[in-house]
């Protein structure tokens, strides 16, 4: 019998090909009945099962049909696995016709009659089906045969008769497999034992008759895979015994079996498959992404946290608050038009907030990035909860300037009005913190860092007063002066982290459902909820997530596990600032209801419409497939680099009979050079990372130009140096590529769990690196390949991005440097220290001129 440890695909295949006829028919019948059982019109199980109460003359067919019918696919597969090897042996021994006679006659009917009688005697009526009764009959037969050869099994001095083993199996199956028929199995086993005592020959049809039938019909000639009854004249398979190995697989000596894994490794076909698998991974990964917006793969959003109850409360903001708002707006407009400094503005605002009876405090901060300093002063106020104990707080943020540097002319007065309004209510159970920051990125970042005591005290001042743990934050970015149509929800956090989906759902529910205004995401001002719009929303979201930049005041909160969004009114409509205020009020009332931190809903998702998303389980496979492609290629190249070693060991093996004294010369992989090259590439990558993050803004563009130049000439120089000093072999080039891809795959699969989009973007852009190879003989191919690789180098992609979005390179690089210093965005690490070294190693491989491989091979063979 084939055991798991010796499993070998080619052997398994040949086993399947050599299955004899009756076994095949049984197999097909079982499969066929299972397929028939899939439809619901005709209940084949009811029709064919062995049901004691139903047994009559007209239903005797059941005795022969029940073994073919199974409860479900699992049942069928398990029984098939058990019966095929047993039946194959039986048939090979006794011939197809005998099998037919026995299994449609006594070996089936006798156990079933026994079963029906016992069952009737007990007054029970349990239907049985499935081939397991046959399995036990055959096991009984086998056990008896083993018993004759090998009567006892000695364990610790106790002799155990070998015929008892099936009884053990019987009990184990009765205990472990639910719904198995102990009685049915026992009946089958009993008949097997009886048959094994030598009574089989009385049960079987007479041999002369079978031989006559066989001869008359020339079955051996006509039927494929037929096993003859007559074992003497023709041999069982109609050929001479010497030329066949009837029971393949079994009975091979114990110590010296070629390990199948090794055999598989040697198989030359194995070395052709991985690149295709790799390509398939990339294609499936990419296509997967484009399937996500379909209805079948995305889901409608839903509120998971029951405590939120969004849109269930009546909002009272309005009426006289509008007059208050106008007054505050007057003040703010005056401040904006006089061009007051940050401190003066804070002075005025503090005066107003103090007047409302709130505690206030200020915080200074200074950041230096790209040769500039970003400094300012945050003003914040704490509204202590009338019903809380200051252990939890929610934050309302109004930055003086939004990310586009427009003054938040409506947002700041609205926040002041809301603070005044909130102060009058007694229902808050969480403190409310009102934060006015001078800008949208650095200010909130400094404040949140300091709130969590994670700030660098030399640049950011500590906070004089604090409240409890932050549970959520809403930022208002309301710069437009006229009435608006809908609300734009900005939710991307630093490094692609996202707020809990429940928060976005609550806002959508309150704004869209309760207030009747539209909600837009990812600057999709118009959205028709069709495939193209969904895809566009999703891709924009992914791009933003991948860049990992702060997109508003809320972004800095998310890394501290404080769920936050920015609300941005847009469009021409009839909604006024009071409606906006009510949206904020509704959201705050929902957050106020929270009993614990938002945790119910998803943290990893891609939104494609305000009410449609895919969760991590659905989208992660695409990034993982792309990352896996690199790992597969790395393993493949490792195997390939060991290939000459394998063949030479094989040679030695065949020759070792003649010359036993020679130890096997294993051709080793030359690891030091490839590891050195890969480490060099990784180390060099620290230089651009450091430079681009530390030079002043005005030198960024010249530096980039210089880098672009070096980027183009570095691979040829490196490759020439390598060729001059080491002349690496093809194996070593393969190993360079293997190690660099292994690292890339490793980084990307780790990254996919943190920032899916970035992993996906880098993965797709570096996918061609899986397929580059050295061209030993063609300088032209080398040049073309190198030029193509240059087109997807990080620097070229950056240029292309700048051209597409019509941004200057300086802006992009400054933005990246600021993000690195202020928000702690790590995307640049990924670009310079993961993507670029992999690209560099890829270029070195392409430009490589490996030493003569044949020569190497010959040398090792001679050694």
């Amino acid at each position: 019998m084939p055991s798991i440890t010796t499993f070998n695909t080619s052997r398994a295949r040949s086993y399947m090909v050599r299955l004899p006829l009756f076994t095949r028919l049984v197999l097909l019948a079982i499969l066929g009945f299972w397929l028939v059982g899939l439809q619901s019109v005709w209940d084949v199980r009811q029709w064919g099962a062995l049901i004691p109460k139903e047994m009559g003359l007209a239903t005797l067919y059941r005795m022969n049909t029940f073994p073919f019918i199974h409860l479900n696919v699992f049942h069928a597969v398990m029984n098939l696995l058990a019966i095929v090897p047993l039946l194959e042996r039986f048939e090979a021994e006794y011939g197809t016709l005998t099998c037919l006679g026995l299994f449609f006659g006594p070996l089936t009917t006798i156990p079933s009659i026994l079963y029906v009688l016992v069952e009737k005697g007990l007054g029970a009526n349990t239907a049985v089906m499935g081939a397991s009764m046959w399995v036990f009959t055959l096991l009984g037969l086998e056990a008896m045969r083993t018993y004759k050869l090998n009567p006892n099994l000695v364990i610790l001095g106790y002799s155990i008769p070998t015929w008892t083993t099936p009884i053990g199996i019987l009990f184990v199956i009765a205990v472990l497999v639910p719904n198995s028929s102990f009685l049915g199995h026992a009946a089958g086993l009993g008949v097997g034992y009886v048959a094994g005592f030598g009574l089989l020959k009385y049960l079987a049809p007479p041999e002369w008759a079978l031989r006559w039938i066989e001869g008359k019909l020339n079955l051996l000639g006509r039927l494929p895979h037929y096993v003859s009854v007559d074992q003497k004249t023709y041999g069982r398979f109609g050929v001479l015994p010497s030329s066949n190995s009837s029971t393949g697989g079994s009975g091979v000596g114990l110590g010296l079996v070629g390990t199948s894994a090794l055999a598989l490794r040697r198989d030359p076909r194995m070395l052709k498959v991985p690149p295709y698998i790799s390509l398939l991974c990339i294609l499936v990964g990419a296509v997967w992404l484009f399937l996500l917006p379909l209805n079948e793969y995305s889901r409608r959003t839903y509120i998971s946290e029951n405590a939120l109850l969004p849109g269930q409360v009546h909002t009272y903001f309005g009426g006289s608050d509008q007059n208050v708002f106008r007054a505050y707006k007057q003040e703010v407009n005056a401040l904006a038009e006089q061009g007051k400094s940050n401190t003066e503005i804070n002075g005025k605002l503090e005066e107003i907030v103090r007047g409302l009876g709130l505690k206030t405090a200020r915080q200074n901060f200074t950041y230096a990035a790209a040769g500039r300093t970003y400094q300012g002063e945050n003003l914040y106020a704490i509204l202590q909860a009338p019903r809380g104990d200051a252990t939890e707080a929610i934050v309302l943020v109004a930055a003086w300037e939004n990310v586009k540097k427009e003054v938040n002319r409506q947002g700041v007065p609205l926040t002041l009005t809301l603070a005044r309004y909130f102060k009058r209510w007694s229902l808050w159970s969480k403190d409310i913190i009102i934060l006015f920051s001078p800008d949208s990125i650095a200010g909130p970042q400094a404040w949140v860092d300091a709130y969590h005591d994670a700030h660098d005290t030399s640049r950011v001042a500590s906070l004089p007063i604090k409240s409890g743990a932050l549970q959520g934050a809403i930022a208002i970015d309301y710069a437009q002066e006229h009435r608006f149509q809908s609300i734009h929800v900005v939710y991307d956090g630093v490094n692609g982290q996202l707020p809990n989906l429940d928060l976005i759902n609550s806002v959508v529910n309150i704004a869209g459902g309760q207030m009747g205004m539209g909600v837009a995401l990812q600057e999709m001002w118009q959205h028709n909820d069709q495939y193209p719009d969904r895809l566009r929303t999703m891709l924009r979201g992914m791009l933003k997530q991948g860049l990992g930049l702060a997109s508003g005041p809320h972004s800095s909160f998310i890394p501290y596990h404080v769920d936050a969004v920015t609300l941005q009114p847009f469009g021409e409509g009839w909604q006024d600032e009071m409606a906006m205020g009510r949206v904020v009020e509704g959201t705050f009332r929902s957050l106020n209801n929270l009993l614990e931190h938002l945790h119910q809903s998803f943290f990893f998702y891609l939104l494609m419409q305000r009410e449609r998303f895919v969760s991590i389980g659905t989208y992660l496979p695409s990034a993982m497939l792309v990352a896996a492609n690199f790992t597969i290629m790395a393993i493949f190249l490792w195997m390939k680099s060991g290939q000459p070693a394998e063949t030479s060991t094989a040679d030695i093996k065949s020759g070792s009979e003649s010359d036993k004294s020679t130890p096997p010369p294993t051709v080793e992989r030359e690891l030091f050079l490839p590891i050195g090259v890969v480490i060099l590439c990784q180390t060099v990558s620290v230089i651009p990372l450091y430079l681009f993050n530390h030079v002043p803004e005005n030198t960024l563009t010249p530096l980039f130009g210089l880098f672009f130049l070096i980027n183009t000439i570095l691979p040829p120089i490196l490759s020439n140096l390598l060729t001059t000093f080491h002349r690496p072999t093809l194996q070593q080039y393969n190993l360079i590529k293997s190690f660099s891809l292994l690292l890339l795959g490793m980084f990307l699969s780790s990254l996919a769990t943190l920032n899916f989009s970035l992993a996906m973007i880098i993965g797709l852009l570096s996918a061609p690196l899986s397929f580059v190879k050295p061209f030993p003989n063609s300088a032209a191919a080398r040049a073309v390949c190198f030029a193509l690789l240059n087109a997807i180098s990080p620097a070229a992609v950056l240029l292309a991005g700048a051209a597409y979005w019509k941004l200057s390179v300086t802006t992009i690089l400054t933005e990246a440097a600021v993000a690195w210093h202020v928000s702690g965005t790590y995307s640049s690490v990924l670009v310079w220290c993961v993507w670029w070294p992999a690209w560099l190693a890829g270029c070195v491989t392409v430009l490589g001129r490996p030493g003569d491989k044949e020569e190497e091979k010959n040398k090792t063979k001679k050694a």
Partner: protein, 424 residues
């Protein structure tokens, strides 16, 4: 690699390693504290932060074990109390840790140069020509990122590592007394090295100097064990004098034996015991410790001919299954593995092992981040990756064991050289 090692190269290696560490300590001041806080490096029984706490209490004449934070040996306290305060003059602590690493490397060098790995007293490998010099092995140890990270994280396990390596180095150079004293120190510091005593005694017995050799192994073992007992007794006495009570026993060894601190680490125990119902706790503690120690007897008997291989494999196993493992234990195991250069061609899964260990060491911090900081994962994320990490290590242990046994077997059965075999 050529075997010629000049004084210049030796000095270069040590200076290079010291400069690398010193550069990280001084040029990247955030890194030591970051690494000190990592659960992969600092366990409750080796953490430098906890040592600081114990030291503070000790310097203020309070029992260092009050408060249940400090679980390390009492003799660390006078040692670190001698150094200037680690927060104001950290350079002295840095130099101490660097010196310990270099001492470990020196011991490793001696072990490598003795050639014990390939040809012991009872067994000589047919492949013994294929080996790396002590220089390479010391360099692999000193520049292994895990060793560097442990040194920078100032985990006190480096002292145990140093003691174990010295014990082995003394043993292979025919100094049983020194070996027993060193292993007693290691055991005193971390408890688990006591399990290394049986193979170490055999190693000492095999490598006795011919002049004053003890014939029978039983008296030899008895003498060795009594040396260990004597030294440990002395150390306990010193500890008692320093702390003034026997309280240190339950606070140091008791914690290791009963796993009362369940801070996550790269091992397999913490998650299991978090999930455990209290009524089963003592039973499973027994099972886990029994499991850890049961390898000692089996391996010592099976690979009697190569006690150093037993020590190497046991260190690998302890790195997986001990109560508070860290990457420091892995770095000790990985330091000894290159001694078996001669059986590398017999190993079958080197690439898989390297890939698994690499992947796990990057995914581990990522998943820990998702669990602890981002809050979007949970404990299962980190535990799953520690399983992978330990899978990688156990693959390495198994593969090395296979290679060593195969090497022995080919001497017994020369006709089987180069043929494939299957373990059944």
């Amino acid at each position: 690699m050529d075997g010629k090692v000049t004084v210049g190269r030796t000095a270069g290696l040590y200076v290079g390693a010291a400069v690398l560490r010193l550069a990280i300590f001084t040029l990247l001041p955030g890194i030591p504290d970051l690494l000190t806080g990592r659960v992969e490096i600092s366990t409750p029984v080796t953490s430098f932060k906890r040592l600081q706490e114990g030291l503070f209490l000790y310097n203020h004449n309070v029992s260092p074990y009050d408060g249940g934070v400090y679980h390390q040996a009492p003799l660390f306290l006078p040692l670190f109390a001698l150094l200037p305060n680690a927060s104001s003059y950290p350079i002295f602590t840095y130099l101490l840790y660097i010196a310990v690493d270099l001492l470990s490397a020196g011991a490793l060098w001696k072990i490598a140069d003795s050639g014990e790995a390939a040809s012991s007293a009872l067994f000589t490998s047919p492949r013994k020509e294929r080996r790396w010099s002590g220089f390479v092995i010391a360099a692999v140890f000193l520049f292994n990122p895990f060793t560097v990270a442990t040194c920078i994280g100032r985990s006190t396990s480096v002292f145990t590592t140093c003691a174990i390596l010295h014990a082995i180095a003394k043993a292979v150079s025919g100094n049983p007394f020194g070996a027993m004293v060193a292993i007693s120190f290691a055991g005193y510091l971390s408890l688990y090295p006591f399990l290394l005593v049986p193979p170490l005694v055999l190693l000492c017995y095999d490598k006795q100097r011919s002049g004053r050799a003890t014939k029978s192994v039983i008296p030899f073992a008895a003498t060795s064990v009594s040396v260990v007992a004597g030294v440990v007794g002395f150390l306990f006495g010193m500890s008692y004098l320093i702390t003034g009570s026997w309280e240190f026993l339950p606070s140091t060894y008791g914690v290791q034996l009963t796993l009362s601190d369940l801070t996550p680490n790269v091992g397999l125990w913490w998650y299991f015991f978090i999930e455990m119902f209290d009524s089963f706790r003592s039973f499973f503690l027994g099972v886990f410790w029994l499991h850890l120690s049961c390898y000692v007897g089996g391996l010592t008997i099976r690979i009697r001919q190569q006690p150093l291989a037993v020590l190497t494999l046991l260190l690998g196993i302890f790195g997986i299954f001990k109560p508070y493992p860290s990457i420091s234990d892995t770095s000790l195991f990985l330091a000894l593995v290159p001694l078996y250069r001669h059986v590398f061609p017999l190993m079958r899964y080197t690439f898989v092992i390297a890939a698994v260990i690499l992947y796990a060491s990057f995914l581990g911090p990522a998943f820990y981040y998702l669990w602890i900081y981002a809050g979007s994962g949970n404990a299962n994320f980190f535990y799953a990756i520690t399983l992978v990490w330990n899978l990688g290590q156990s693959l390495l242990v198994c593969d090395l064991l296979f290679a060593v046994l195969r090497d022995e077997w080919e001497v017994e059965r020369p006709e089987m050289v180069g043929k494939e075999i299957r373990q059944i």
